[in-house]
């Protein structure tokens, strides 16, 4: 064991990367890609790859928020509908109130943050279960989104963004670059800031963190607010991409976000995770989903396969933790 350790230290970045939990996600991504390429030889073209990359940002944004709440040891089931409501608010602000781009975006993000804060206050200060609270806000958001939009798509054409959204720097939608930027910011937040340490500490052992003088309630509240804001970013992406807000966007996204977190190595009991893992988790999930679609796999069978992947990823996570624990003895 000692020898292994020495070797690890000597071999530098390459092998270290190979041993990280995140790397484990790359392998299934590659397997999925290889199988798809065999069945559909023109798969490995920029057209498909860019489509996968861009397509993953919508779930990706929601997953980023979800991961923070899960790291704090709670769950947020409202990220999908919260994003939907935020998108609708953005659409309403543009089409009916005639506001400009900046106020629209701000209204969108603020909506998400307010819903997140509502979740946070109920869970952290009123002592409700996060499952129940966020399930309730999911319904509230869904109902509000449909009511406010009256079931109609709310066009954002008045913002005059159509030329911008259609622009494709490097052959990718600019939404993708925003997403990459957000992932980098999230990585800094989780790994480098005082808040990130506090968040992981509270998720790891809340009572111990309270004893250490951390304000667990406030830390969790902030996680919920951030989750709401990231959810709103997801809704904003939807709206910008489609050119209109629609109350049908984002349904079921919360569960996909939770799956992406699980695949991406976010500990379901709280306390551990990385932004890099989240990005790869989202990528794996979306690649799989996309490949199944272009291979014309039956929709119902798709669900079965995605379910299996989820179980497999969790099994792998448990096995890795066991291996790690054994190495420590």
């Amino acid at each position: 064991m000692m020898r292994l350790k020495e070797r690890n230290e000597r071999s530098g970045l390459g092998l270290k990367l190979l041993l990280t939990p995140e790397f484990g996600i790359l392998i299934p991504i590659l397997i999925v890609c290889v199988i798809t390429t065999i069945l559909k030889p023109n798969f490995l073209t920029w057209k498909y790859i860019s489509s996968i990359l861009v397509g993953s940002v919508f779930i990706g944004a929601a997953t980023m928020g979800e991961s923070l709440v899960i790291m704090a040891g709670e769950i947020d089931l409202s990220v999908g509908m919260n994003g939907c409501l935020a998108g609708v608010m953005c659409g309403i602000a543009a089409s009916q109130w005639g506001l400009g781009l900046v106020p629209c975006v701000l209204i969108c993000l603020l909506t998400g943050a307010v819903v997140g804060a509502l979740n946070g206050v109920c869970v952290c200060y009123l002592g409700l279960s996060s499952w129940i609270t966020t399930l309730a806000t999911q319904f509230i958001c869904q109902g509000l989104a449909v009511t406010i939009s009256q079931g109609e798509p709310q066009s954002i054409a008045s913002l005059g963004l159509s030329s911008v959204t259609r622009a494709k720097p490097l052959g990718l939608s600019w939404l993708f670059f925003v997403f990459v930027l957000l992932i980098v910011l999230l990585d800094v937040l989780i790994r480098r800031t005082r808040y990130g340490y506090s968040l992981r500490s509270v998720g790891g052992n809340q009572e111990a963190s309270v004893m250490a003088g951390l304000n667990a309630r406030r830390i969790k509240l902030i996680a919920f607010i951030l989750a709401g804001t990231f959810a709103a970013v997801g809704g904003l992406f939807d709206t910008l991409n489609a050119g209109a807000a629609n109350a049908a966007f984002g349904s079921g996204r919360e569960f996909r976000a939770i799956i992406c977190c699980a695949i991406g190595g976010i500990s379901m009991t709280g306390g551990a995770g990385s932004a890099f893992g989240i990005a790869l988790g989202v990528l794996l999930f979306h690649t799989l989903w996309y490949c199944l679609r272009i291979l014309d796999v039956n929709t119902n069978l798709q669900l079965v396969l995605i379910g299996l992947i989820l179980v497999l990823s969790v099994i792998m996570d448990i096995q890795r933790k066991r291996l790690e624990a054994r190495k420590l003895v």
Binding site: M1, R192, T193, R194, Y195, G196, Y197, S198, S201, G204, N205, E207, A208, S209, V210, M211, A212, G213, L214, N215, R217, S267, G271, A272, A325, R326, L328, V329
Partner: protein
């Protein structure tokens, strides 16, 4: 093979990767005797017990177990129970939603083992009449004072411990293993536990009694086996008991004195509470703690004494911002401060080490250094960014000063022994540079060597002028370590004792004081 042993463990060797946890350990228990098993944390006691009760299945270790002359190979805890080895773990794990009787017979609700052979009941329903009857008899036979129908949630820790023992006894074990049963018990609970053990012994059950407390060995056991570093060191008969020799065998060196002396002067008053009152969270018109007042001076160690449940921990939790105050004031350096959260407390320079190490202790998936610095991230950050290179530098002095035994600062705390985990918890509390330190049962469940180190640490802290409040159920420890004592009973201050008047009898008198008359008067006044 000698027949006067009921259980023999012969040359047990258990290896973990890189660690030899048990090295040819032998243990034998005579019929109807109480065998003490003592040793520091990490001496291999728990490992040995886990093999006896089947948690480490037969085959995962070398050596053999012999029960009443025949070799047994317990493959699981259930198997060990069937063979006749009962085990009561250190931590109580009762089923809180069930009654006492249901807890005791949970694995055997149809009482099959009690029925006459060949008359197996096919009734799929639980016969509660019979269940309660069987339970009542069991409790009566063993002189355990519990109500079979009682709600387990309402039981005290001591009663829960008795329940655990009753549960083990329901399987009619030949050998009963009690793993540090007294760790969380008050003096009176310990006394009733001893009664139960003596009664069992009279009825022929053999008992392995694992403990850290020497007095218990001296008082209760017939023989004692001492383990150190996974090896048998010695076994003494009752007639040969000698405290110093047992301690020396345990720690592998002579210890001059368990309680080091302290001679630093006591300075100005720096901390004071006045009329601290906390309402009972569930029962109306009752206070958990009522009008508690005391003060602590710089360089002074104040002992909070009293029985378990007297409200000592609650006082500290209230000061530390973990319980809302109904009334009362807290003064630091003669200025009133308001504490609503633990964050406020830490900011004002108050730090606390909780008695429940498992629950309030550490982030077990983290390493030592992160667990230490988490209490004061400001000290290792610039603006809102944590500087990773500073973490090590911040944690290192505490790691050295507290003599935490671990390969490095990067060792995960889950792999440390109890004593070393406790040191990490203390290091984390000290990392906030507190003026007032509250230590709630700081030496609970840790070995003599580590205890001594923690006492020395307390003395060093008080020499730097910190005010220390210490809670302890271990009376000799409390008397030796504190300069002054505040004894609590029923959530109130029963009296204050200076060091020279602190005798165990005096403390117990105060600790068992009742305030029923005062309560009545207050209630009448309120009406």
């Amino acid at each position: 093979m000698e027949t006067n042993y009921v259980l023999e463990a012969v040359n047990i060797t258990k290896r973990f990767p890189g660690v030899l946890a048990n090295d040819a350990v032998c243990l034998n228990v005579k019929y109807g005797e109480v065998l003490g098993l003592i040793g520091e944390n990490g001496a291999g006691k728990s490992t040995l017990l886990k093999m006896l009760n089947g948690i480490y299945p037969s085959g995962s270790y070398e050596g053999s177990l012999v029960l009443e002359g025949t070799e047994i190979k317990p493959s699981s805890p259930l198997d060990a129970i069937r063979q006749g080895i009962g085990y009561v773990p250190q931590e109580t794990n009762v089923l809180k939603n069930f009654s006492v009787a249901e807890n005791i017979y949970m694995s055997n609700l149809r009482l099959e083992s009690l029925q006459v052979q060949g008359r197996h009941s096919k009734n799929p329903f639980v016969d509660f009449g019979k269940l309660y009857q069987a339970c009542t008899e069991l409790l009566k036979d063993n002189k355990i004072d519990l109500d079979p129908k009682a709600d387990v949630r309402k039981l005290s820790v001591g009663q829960q411990q008795m329940l655990m023992i009753a549960r083990a006894l329901a399987t009619k074990p030949k050998v009963l293993i009690l793993d540090e049963p007294t760790t969380s018990l008050s003096a009176s609970d310990v006394e009733s536990l001893f009664e139960v053990v003596r009664n069992l012994k009279e009825h022929g059950t053999s008992i392995i009694f694992v403990t850290h407390k020497l007095e218990e060995i001296l008082e209760l056991t017939d023989r004692v086996t001492i383990l150190r570093d996974g090896r048998n060191i010695s076994t003494y008969k009752k007639a040969e008991y000698d405290t110093m020799r047992i301690i020396a065998d345990m720690i592998g060196r002579q210890m001059s004195d368990l309680y080091p002396t302290r001679d630093n002067p006591v300075g100005e008053e720096i901390f004071r509470v006045e009329g601290l009152t906390v309402e009972h969270p569930y029962i109306a018109n009752r206070d958990l703690i009522h009008e508690v007042s005391f003060s602590v001076h710089s360089g002074e160690v104040l002992g909070l004494g009293g029985l378990v449940g007297a409200g000592r921990s609650e006082v500290c939790s209230a000061i530390y911002g973990m319980m809302p105050l109904k009334s009362g004031k807290i003064f630091l350096d003669q200025k009133e401060i308001h504490i609503r959260t633990t964050e406020d407390a830490v900011r004002h320079g108050i730090s606390m080490v909780s008695e429940d190490r498992k629950r309030y202790g550490l982030n077990f998936s983290w390493d030592i250094q992160k667990n230490i610095v988490i209490s004061n991230l400001k000290a290792v950050s610039h603006a809102c960014f944590v500087l990773r290179q500073k973490i090590r530098g911040r944690a290192e002095p505490y790691f050295q000063d507290l003599r935490i035994k671990a390969p490095s600062l990067n060792t995960r705390v889950a792999t440390l022994s109890g004593g070393n985990q406790q040191k990490v918890v203390i290091a984390r509390a000290l990392n906030t540079e507190p003026k007032v330190i509250i230590l709630d049962e700081p030496t609970k469940g840790i070995d003599v060597g580590s205890k001594n180190e923690i006492y020395q640490l307390i003395n060093q802290l008080s020499a730097t002028g910190a005010a220390i409040i210490i809670i302890s159920s271990d009376l000799p420890e409390l008397i030796a370590m504190s300069d002054r004592m505040v004894i609590m009973a029923e959530g109130r201050v029963a009296g204050e004792l200076q060091k020279d008047e602190a005798k165990e009898i005096r403390i117990m008198q105060l600790a068992t004081k009742t305030f029923r008359n005062e309560e009545k008067r207050e209630q009448q006044a309120a009406v």
